[in-house]
Every structure is written in structure tokens, then in C-alpha cells.
Symmetry: C2
Subunit: 350 residues, 2 copies
């Protein structure tokens, strides 16, 4: 069934059918009703491709999960407790507003092409990029395409300050620095002086910010910054587990450990448990994200709550907004975090 068929059945032209479908004002109620009834009767659905080709929107947004740090075999992006809720919220929010969402994961530079293609082939009206920003030129290329684009957890300003206002672009991130600082102030307030960190991915805005806040806060309080207390975690369970094991075998341990996300905090706790290191009695642990798991493990994990849901929702609303406006705009929104105190921190033993 094509618009032509509907037109015939309703005794009008395709033009009029189109006008009705697109809800144009210049068609009398009786005509509209007549057409609408035929459409209804035959459950007619205009071909989305033909519409798009003729200049209409596709009503589809892209969601691209970039995970270029992870290994080939570690390729399960949603195992990461950060992505799952984002996908969740993005899909729900977009759907609720009548948009489909096209998902693609990117584990390598080559796959990144698919992201560009999705835009170039006009499959989507706009897109959301979330994840590691390993190859910044790739992102730059994206931005150059001038399609509506929302970047989650990206530090775009330093990269392309000059052309920001020529694009339909928005950045969404969280106040990682402040959140981390709050966590560390809390530990310091408990009396900790030897505080370690499991770093996130340095290819990531949040990873860098959290580390920076760690350094600065310790420094501010005149606390030692020991290299052997700084672990490379890359935001991954596996590396955190490995690093925690290594730490466990050191002669000296910190009395508290800030973990750049909950996945790593939980993996580290497992490692420590295996080495008979009691949390929080011998070692206080604090995570970041406040993932679902955080409150379900024992002991319950103290964590900095990241409003992923709000962020994901904001990202969708933003792309849609960008799709709706013609002028180039750039905006960046930072979402506040909040320390959720649970059972993994207490004053140091001595």
C-alpha cells in the first residue's frame, strides 16, 4: 500500500495525502477526516525511506558505544555496568518521543567508520557518542560532518575550541572532579593519610578528572602521593582485579583506596578478600558510579553517585533538540554527583 493507493481510495491526490500525513494546516477537516479514515482502514504506513529521501527526518537517533581501550576478547561493552543503564535510558527516552534508536558498538578504529557511515548514509538524524575518546581525530571528523551530535563524557573544548559554534554539538558530562574531591575529603576526614587510587581510562574525560582530583586533593592536604599506591585500572574489572592482587602483595598498603568506578572497586574487593585483607577494617574502599551492584554486595560499597539516568536522558533530549533547530549551537552540561556513604569505609586502624 502506497500513498498513491490511499489517494485513489480517498478520491484525492498524493499531495493531499501527504499533507494529511504531515499534519499540514491547509487541508479542510472533512478532507483530512476522509483521508485519515482510509489510512486507518488499511493500516497504511508511509515508507520511511521514501520520506527520508524526500527530505523528511528519519526519526532515528544513533547511539554509539565506543570502547577502544578494551581488548578484543573483552568486547562485552554492556558488562560494563556503566553502559547498560545508558543504553536502557537512551532507548526508553528516545522511544517515548517517537524516535527509534540505532545502536552500534565500536571496539576498533575500523569499526568507527560505521559511525561515520551511519551519518553519511543518512540513516540517523543525529547521534550520541559515549565511551573512550582514544582517537580524537575520529571525533573531530565526526564533528566536522556538522550533524547533530551529543558527546557523553568527552572533553571537547580543548580539542576544537575554534569551531565549536559552527556545529550542532553538545557535551554532557558529570562533575567528576568535585565528586572525587568529596570522596577524598571524606576519607581524609575519617583520618586516612595513605590513600591509593585505581585510575580509570586516561582516554576518558572522567578518568582524567578523577585522577586529577585525587592528586590535587591529597596535595592540598599535604598528604603523600605514592606511586606504588597508584594503580592502572582502565575502568575494567579485570585490570583492577590484577592490580589489586599486586597491591595486596606489597609490604605496605594504603589504608584507603579510591576506585575510579564501582566495577573496579568490586573487583578489587574480591581480590582483597582472597588475600585475607578485610574491608573496611584493614582497608577502606570507595567507588564511583553507584552502580546497581554497589548496594547488593557485602559489605555494601560506599560510592559517588553518578546520575547516569539523567545524563542519558539529557543526551537524548539534546540530540532531538539539535535535530529540531537550524542554527549551529554548542552547549555543555555537567551533572552533579553525590557521595553515598555505605559500609566500606571507616577510620584507619592505627
Amino acid at each position: 500500500m502506497r500513498s498513491e493507493d490511499i489517494a485513489k481510495l480517498a478520491g484525492v491526490s498524493r499531495s493531499t495525502v501527504s499533507r494529511v500525513i504531515n499534519n499540514y494546516p491547509n487541508v479542510p477537516e472533512t478532507t483530512r477526516a476522509k483521508v485519515l479514515r482510509v489510512i486507518e482502514q488499511h493500516q497504511y504506513e508511509p515508507n520511511s525511506f521514501a520520506r527520508a529521501l524526500a527530505g523528511k527526518r528519519t526519526d532515528t537517533i544513533g547511539l554509539f558505544a565506543i570502547s577502544m581501550t578494551e581488548q578484543e576478547n573483552a568486547s562485552r561493552i554492556y558488562q560494563n555496568s556503566y553502559f547498560a543503564p545508558i543504553v536502557d535510558m537512551v532507548v526508553d527516552t528516545a522511544n517515548a518521543r517517537g524516535f527509534y534508536v540505532l545502536i552500534h558498538t565500536v571496539y576498533s578504529r575500523g569499526e568507527f567508520q560505521k559511525v561515520k557511515q551511519a551519518f553519511q548514509q543518512k540513516r540517523i538524524d543525529g547521534g550520541i557518542l559515549v565511551g573512550t575518546q582514544k582517537d580524537i581525530e575520529l571525533v573531530r571528523e565526526m564533528v566536522d560532518q556538522e550533524a547533530p551530535l551529543v558527546l557523553v563524557d568527552y572533553d571537547i573544548s580543548e580539542i576544537m575550541a575554534e569551531r565549536l559554534n559552527k556545529n550542532h554539538l553538545a557535551v554532557i558530562n558529570s562533575m567528576d572532579y568535585e565528586g572525587t574531591a568529596e570522596a577524598l575529603e571524606y576519607l581524609i576526614g575519617l583520618g586516612h593519610r595513605d590513600i591509593g587510587i585505581i585510575k580509570g581510562s586516561m582516554n576518558t574525560y572522567s578518568g582524567r578528572e578523577r585522577y586529577l582530583a585525587y592528586e590535587n586533593t591529597l596535595q592540598k592536604h599535604g598528604l603523600p602521593l605514592r606511586n606504588d599506591f597508584v594503580l592502572e585500572g582502565e575502568f575494567l574489572k579485570e585490570s583492577a582485579y590484577r592490580e589489586a592482587k599486586r597491591l595486596a602483595q606489597q609490604e605496605e598498603l594504603p589504608t584507603a583506596l579510591f576506585c575510579s568506578n564501582d566495577d573496579m572497586a568490586i573487583a578489587a574487593m574480591e581480590a582483597f578478600a582472597e588475600h585475607g585483607i578485610a574491608v573496611p577494617d584493614q582497608l577502606s574502599i570507595i567507588g564511583f558510579d553507584d552502580a546497581q551492584l554497589a548496594s547488593r554486595i557485602t559489605p555494601k560499597l560506599t560510592s559517588v553517585r553518578l546520575p547516569v539516568d539523567e545524563m542519558a536522558k539529557a543526551a537524548v533530549l539534546k540530540v532531538i533538540e539539535l535535530c529540531d533547530t537550524d542554527e549551529a549551537t554548542f552547549s555543555t552540561t555537567s551533572f552533579p554527583t553525590r557521595l553515598v556513604v555505605r559500609d566500606t569505609c571507616k577510620p584507619p586502624a592505627r
Copy 2:
């Protein structure tokens, strides 16, 4: 940049450009190379809509997560530990084969229209449906559209036996009956005679099968089937928690509880913990799915492993296969389960 432009630059016609793009044999290597170089140079990407409109595939498959039992506000489909890995695997598998995936969640009958529309509007080449099968006519309507369709965890045979072979259809499910029977035999082997169940959603193939196996296995061993030991869980954490709380207040408790999925098992354990009922000392618990969480909580949950990853992957391969073939086919694949014994079961106290 359109194919016309490429044609001009390469000094050929659009036809030839098209032939090159579609990798048709009847074009000499030199011509092909020439065209390819121009395409390369200009990073030309054919408009996917125009291609689709002209009869080519869209290279997109749909993934529709149906969750019509859940409440409006419980609408977080991915919180369900069953969906997240499916989405994960479907996207990865499809992407690896050059397909995009269009995701849509369905929480109500109205939203189900979007699923049909995705097909009718020709947005996708084929689709995967997973979730509750509340309104069987909806599914029937889908099937009638004759588009490639894979149903995960559906019991299609009883519904439309007569037209199965007229469609591009496949069903993927797991051996829920056998898995449940194995779990119950294990409990019975430990000496349990008073065994309860938290049922899953009866709108679901797996929900029904698991319950059926529960009944049959108890019966087979001459064990009592007590109504007050049968809880309605709907596969949801919330209801399981509520029901477990209710059970905890009963005078008599079962000595073992089979939970139709891990989400419910874990929620129930939380409820029992709050009532001071020790697992497994006073009550043995067994789950289903072997979700990620199962091995991370304390005590570690004994569970029937469901090969979701394999199932999801199979679903994708199947749709793609269905898209590739012209003849109508119907197939159904059942994946075996496996009992993973951990720490939540022991012989009954007395």
C-alpha cells in the same frame, strides 16, 4: 556527494558506479579500480535510504524487547539481568556482520505498533522479538507480515501450527523444563521434601515450562504440592521480594525454594535476610539464568545456567539467514541448560 558525482569524476555512468558498489561481476577490473579510487578519494557513501527504496536491503535488524507485564514505572527493561546480555550480544553479533540494530522497547499494547511499523515502514530487514508474549494476536499479526522474524522464548507452535511453513520464522528457546527438573532433582537428592517455587511470568514460555517442570517433578517423587509454597513472581525483583516477605511470615516454611530466575532469587534472599532466615542453613535457594550477580553475592547463588549469549547470537544469525533466503522456513532451536552448584543449597535441617 551522490553517485552521479562519482560517475562524472570517474568518467562513467551511474549504472557503472552502482555496479561497482554492489560488486557485480560484469565490470572490468580497470573500470572498477578507477571508480573505486574516486569513491575512496571522496569518502563517498551511498545514501542508504535511496538504496533501500530502490530495492536493496537496509542492513538493519530490529531488536524489540517486549515487557508488557511490567508496571509503567518499573519500565527499566535492562535492569532485568536477562535483557542486558541479550542486547549486548545481539548488537555485537549483528555489528560484526555488517548490520546495524534498531532497538525498541515495548511496555504497552500501543507501543507494540512501533514494532509493526518498523517492519511496515521497511526500516529493517528482519527482527528479533524477546520478552513476554502477553498478547498473542500481536505476535500473530507480526508473523502474518511475513517478514523475517525470530522469536526468543516464545511458544509459537501451539499458536499457529497451520501457517508455520508459510513464513520466514524461527524460534529460539532454552530447555527450561529439563533445567528446572535438574534443579529439583538436585534439591530432592539433598533430602528436601518441602519445596516451594517463585513462579515467573506465565505469559512467557520459560515461565510456564519452569512451573510445569516444578509440578511434575514433585509429583513424580510423590512430594506435596502446597499452594502456600507457590509464589507469584512474574520474573520481577519487586514482586519476588514482596512475596518472599509474605512467605517469611508464614508459620511453615519450605526447606527449599526454586526461583524461576536469579533476579527473583536474589531479591528473595534479601527479604529472608531481613527476616533472619539463614540461607542455606534454614532455607535452600536455587535460581535460574546464572546471571552475573549470582556468583558475586554472598552466599553465592546456585543457579541453572541459561546460555543467553549463545541464544542471542543464534537469534541474530537466524534473522540474517532468514533475510538471505527466499523460501519460507520455520525452525526452532532449544538450548540446553546446566546446573551450577554454589553455596545456597544444603540438606534440610531436620
